[in-house]
């Protein structure tokens, strides 16, 4: 841009137009590249998840199992009173996968030693937020179902 008070001559006008052209050209190159790199949205799963056979037997054996819900992972576990619970398995600190420690009745993240209680509240360590809670029930036929979506049950 020419300094204020100076007359705009043909040269400076051409410079400005050239600059606009270069910026526009760069934008038209960069935009498709950036758009290309941004991953497609993943389908989010909202309906209930029914545990498969091998997941059920793992739950039976280890008192806990991690299941997939769309892109998310959910830890389903049975506490010391045989009550079924389900929490997001993604640690709120740096995204490692947490685990249920039956002996101590805590949810533990091995990466940076974060600890949560069985409702997902932070007990100790660096995690900044609670783990999301889901309602989990055992149906009359013995199958286990996790309800997804933020419902009133997450209280």
């Amino acid at each position: 841009m020419p300094p204020v008070g100076e007359k705009i001559n043909r040269r400076s006008l051409l410079d400005v137009l050239l600059a606009i052209g270069v910026v526009g050209w760069l934008a038209s190159v960069l935009f498709p590249v950036l758009r290309y790199l941004k991953p497609l949205g993943v389908q989010t799963q909202n309906g209930p998840i029914k545990l498969k056979g091998e997941e059920l037997s793992k739950l039976e054996k280890d008192h806990s199992v991690i299941v997939r819900a769309g892109a998310a992972r959910i830890v389903v576990f049975e506490d010391s009173t045989q009550q079924l619970r389900a929490l997001s398995a993604k640690c709120t600190h740096e995204g490692c996968t947490v685990q249920y420690v039956p002996g101590e009745s805590v949810i533990w993240c091995a990466c940076h030693n974060g600890r949560f209680d069985l409702d997902g509240r932070v007990l100790a360590g660096p995690p900044p937020r609670t783990l999301e809670k889901y309602s989990c029930t055992r149906e009359s036929d013995g199958s286990v179902v996790v309800q997804l979506g933020r419902g009133p049950e997450a209280a």
Partner: protein
């Protein structure tokens, strides 16, 4: 445009005259003949470290291309092809072992090279851009380590990448976008591996070779930095053949050392963060396993992430930790401009001290990350670790002091003292790591302020006392 004719007779026969007539290489040969490496009062060993780093990088290129002959990126092939390389392909284990060892040794020699540049103030004008290109190469080396780590698609790789990419969310504004672009989705998946693969074998090598070219051109144009006290042209060693042959001999020694290590310890020395057993295949539905740790040169960041509380100054702890790391890196990159004394060619022990303090700071965090003195229980005793590592941290601090006396650069200890104070407060008195750090930084600021005032008063006194 007239063709270069060099210095040879137009009728002379042979390859050299042929090349010289076309490309004029005689001036280049003349330049090499007269090029000299300054001999300082300090050991010459520091001048070879860049060359050693370059040698290890060359090994990485060669062994990397060899690995590419069998490696297949994919959900059901990445892990399997690495296992095939190490168990079935003749000498496959050796190629992978060389690639891993050389990676670690390259980082080691690069960091030593950088620290020696810092201590000898080789970054001072006119060599600021040599420092900046070197800093970029350091960043690329970390990028190489991080992206290469994921390629075997084993458990360790999976969680290291989950944590490492997760810290991207700390970037203000574009954090979430950056996170998704790096991962190729909201979470780490095989899409992440595809992206890291492209980064590791195409993008980073091209960038590194380009920046290495600039780094070397700068060094050739300006010559190696002479030691401060010897800035007047003094003794020199002929670059060719004296220095170049020493370089070559050292590379041979490095190759022998590398090959021996690769043969006798094919899966690394077994130090946490410096081992590359393939282990179990990555399973996104398995929890992180106890004792999971990143590579040794990332351990200090890992430990810092553990030391920060859930929230600090309205930020999430991990965000604050990453912000601190970014600030430290920025200060490190800008040292050639921050070091005013070295800029005007005066001794600057303060920045030698800063480098040593950085070493003590990194050493203490790394030792803590190794859980030294934590007992045999499943979970280490955090207080015992802090205490045991404090002893070793102070040993490192003492070693830097001895080193500086030996170097004759023992005049300024504020930074090292602050680093040591933090270790004492945290390790022996039980103050939290961050509070201990804050106290140390506060006292450091006071002492630096007093120094500044005193030197200003001294300057004023000189001006007032001697009106000339």
């Amino acid at each position: 445009m007239s063709a270069p004719t060099g210095g040879t007779h137009p009728e002379a026969k042979g390859l050299y005259p042929w090349l010289d007539r076309r490309y004029g290489i005689t001036p280049l040969i003349e330049f090499l003949k007269h090029k000299e490496v300054p001999i300082g009062s300090h050991s010459m060993i520091w001048y070879y470290l860049g060359g050693i780093t370059l040698f290890f990088f060359t090994i990485q290129l060669v062994s990397g291309v060899l690995l590419l002959a069998y490696y297949q990126a994919g959900e059901s092939t990445s892990y399997e092809s690495i296992r095939f390389i190490t168990t079935k392909v003749p000498f496959g284990w050796l190629v992978r072992s060389m690639h891993c060892w050389s990676a670690h040794l390259m980082i080691l020699s690069l960091v030593t090279h950088m620290l020696s540049t810092m201590v000898l103030k080789a970054y001072r004008p006119p060599r600021e851009l040599t420092w900046i290109t070197g800093f970029l190469l350091f960043a690329f080396a970390l990028g190489f380590g991080f992206s290469g780590y994921l390629l075997p698609w084993n458990e360790l790789a999976f969680f290291a990448t989950a944590v490492g990419t997760d810290s991207m969310k700390a970037v203000p504004g574009i954090g979430e976008w950056l996170l998704q672009v790096m991962r190729g989705g909201t979470d780490v998946s095989i899409n992440t591996l595809y992206r890291f693969f492209a980064l590791h074998v195409v993008v980073l090598p091209l960038l590194t070779v380009g920046i290495v070219a600039f780094h070397l051109i700068f060094i050739q144009r300006q010559g190696m930095a002479a030691p401060m006290a010897h800035d007047k042209p003094g003794r020199g060693m002929k670059f060719f053949p004296d220095f170049a042959l020493r370089d070559l001999l050292l590379w041979l020694v490095c190759l022998i050392a590398l090959a021996s290590l690769a043969v006798f310890l094919p899966y690394g020395p077994g130090i946490p963060g410096m081992e590359w057993e393939l282990g179990k295949k990555a399973n996104p539905l398995a929890p992180a396993y106890p004792g999971i740790k990143p590579e040794w040169y990332f351990l200090w960041v890992y430990q810092l992430l553990k030391e920060f509380p859930a929230h600090l100054f309205g930020m999430e702890g991990s965000q604050a930790a990453i912000a601190l790391v970014s600030v430290l890196f920025a200060v490190w990159a800008l040292v050639p401009w921050l070091d005013r004394d070295a800029r005007s060619n005066r001794a600057s022990p303060a920045f030698t001290d800063l480098a040593m303090a950085a070493l003590v700071f990194l050493a203490y965090l790394t030792l803590k990350a190794w859980d030294i003195g934590g007992g045999d229980g499943p979970l280490p005793d955090v207080r015992a670790v802090a205490r045991a590592c404090a002893y070793w941290g102070l040993v490192v601090a003492a070693a830097t002091v001895v080193f500086r006396f030996a170097m004759g650069s023992a005049r300024f200890f504020d930074f090292t003292a602050a680093a040591a104070l933090q270790i004492v407060l945290h390790g022996f008195l039980g103050v939290s790591y961050l509070a201990a750090g804050a106290i140390a930084v506060l006292l450091l600021a006071v002492s630096l302020g007093v120094r500044m005032l005193r030197s200003r008063n001294a300057a004023r006194a000189t001006v007032g006392g001697a009106p000339r």
